[in-house]
């Protein structure tokens, strides 16, 4: 059996029960509810002739590659300059991936905009954040790209905590805020890798300056929702580690930049309302820490301690 194989029936990611005829490497076992069919396009597709609704440089690739989103009849097409086009039908719960030789990069992209469009259709809230499970519940580590989310999540993994999400957090608001675990992978920068994978994880491949570290099956856990106990905003400090509560209204300014929504007034309004509900229901913390590897252990301890209290 291939790890996280979606052909075995109970594979899950972001709350979906994932069905796919081709192996996917980073799924969890059980806990998914709504079906999500992932298929590979039988033949190469063409970009839509319509104007895109959004276009942006893909994170972590030095601005070389771009992602472009088109709204089409029944759903969306998400095109990347390196992998190709994904056809997304959120209503039907179906994503068509492009045929391509780099299956790893294709799966990684699958778990970004394409799946976010599907879980947003379900009413869940996307946030640019890693998530880990402490004794108290899910802790979101929120920050823009290259602010150390993955490195800190990996430090939590080293301390025995479960990594629930690496870069995109799927939050459900009702009946209480919960986190729906995403793919069990960490893409870490080569300069923070100490030449051997941590216990409970293994190196899969290297791509574009990042190493793909897959969490082992026995450390993945299920895809069932985990109550969110804290949102931690990652900030840099020159000196000591400090963690302090911050008022929700003030934190909205930071969280607003970490969301994903379509560029329409209706989508903005929906995202804003969801975000303020989330911020009003979950304690938010500012974490100031030095961006040094030798500070990671102490940082993990401070976060765990604060969220426990």
């Amino acid at each position: 059996m291939v790890e996280g194989d979606a052909r075995v029936g109970d594979a899950a990611s972001f709350g979906f029960r994932v069905r796919c005829g081709t192996p996917l490497r980073f799924l969890r076992r059980g806990g998914g509810v709504e079906p999500l069919d992932v298929v590979v396009a039988p033949e190469p597709a063409q970009r839509p002739a319509t104007a895109p609704c959004a276009d942006w440089p893909l994170a972590g690739l030095g601005g070389k590659e771009r992602g472009t989103l088109y709204q089409v009849n029944r759903g969306f097409e998400f095109w990347t300059t390196d992998i190709g086009g994904y056809r997304i039908d959120p209503e039907a719960g179906r994503i068509e991936m492009p045929a391509c030789t780099d299956q790893l990069a294709r799966e990684q992209r699958l778990w970004t905009t394409p799946v976010a469009l599907c879980f947003m259709h379900r009413g869940d809230v996307p946030l640019h954040a890693a998530a880990v499970e402490t004794e108290a519940g899910a802790v979101l580590l929120a920050a823009p790209h290259r602010h150390g989310k993955t490195t800190l999540a990996l430090a939590f993994h080293r301390h025995g905590y479960r990594v629930l999400s690496e870069d995109l957090a799927c939050c459900r608001l009702d009946p209480e805020p919960t986190l729906l675990p995403g793919p069990a992978v960490l893409r870490i920068r080569q300069d923070v890798y100490d030449r051997r994978p941590p216990a409970g994880a293994h190196l899969v491949a290297a791509r574009a300056g990042r190493l793909y570290i897959a969490v082992d099956d026995d450390r993945r856990g299920s895809g069932a929702p985990v109550p969110i106990v804290a949102i931690v905003l990652l900030r840099e400090s020159a000196g000591d580690i400090a963690i302090e509560r911050t008022p929700a209204a003030g934190a909205i300014r930071d969280l607003w930049t970490l969301g994903f929504h379509l560029p329409t007034p209706g989508a903005r309004a929906r995202w804003f309302t969801q975000l303020t509900r989330l911020a009003g229901a979950v304690p938010i913390w500012n974490l100031y820490r030095p961006a040094r590897l030798d500070a990671l252990n102490a940082t993990v301890s401070r976060v765990v301690e604060a969220c426990r209290a």
Partner: protein, 112 residues
């Protein structure tokens, strides 16, 4: 390009109301407001939140000032200056509309 309201001076006799294309939420006594057109975000403290509450329906600036003076026991001239400053800032963000009459009184703005 800023709207005409954004550039218009607000006086104590102006009638102001929350713009239609905004959405706001109350969070622990404060208010956060988002312009749906510009995507710009604005936060208001507790007194600002009370003023925002009064802006849900068209209101005279003088009436807003009087309500704040009654509630917070602040000196009227000082209060008037602060209210006008805040309203002008909200207008520059296109979060409120300004009229000189009372014809719109009674139509509530959108608040989540």
């Amino acid at each position: 390009m800023p709207s005409a309201d954004a550039q218009r001076a607000i006086t104590i006799d102006s009638v102001v109301v929350a713009a239609k294309d905004q959405v706001s939420s109350y969070l622990a006594g404060e208010v956060v407001v988002l312009s749906l057109q510009t995507g710009r975000y604005y936060g208001l403290d507790r007194v600002g939140a009370r003023i925002w509450d009064l802006l849900r329906t068209p209101a005279r600036v003088a009436d807003i000032r009087d309500a704040i003076v009654r509630q917070y026991e602040v000196e009227p001239d000082h209060c008037e200056r602060d209210v006008l400053t805040l309203l002008q800032r909200l207008a520059s963000q296109e979060l409120i509309e300004i009229t000189d009459g009372t014809d719109q009184i009674g139509s509530p703005a959108r608040t989540e």
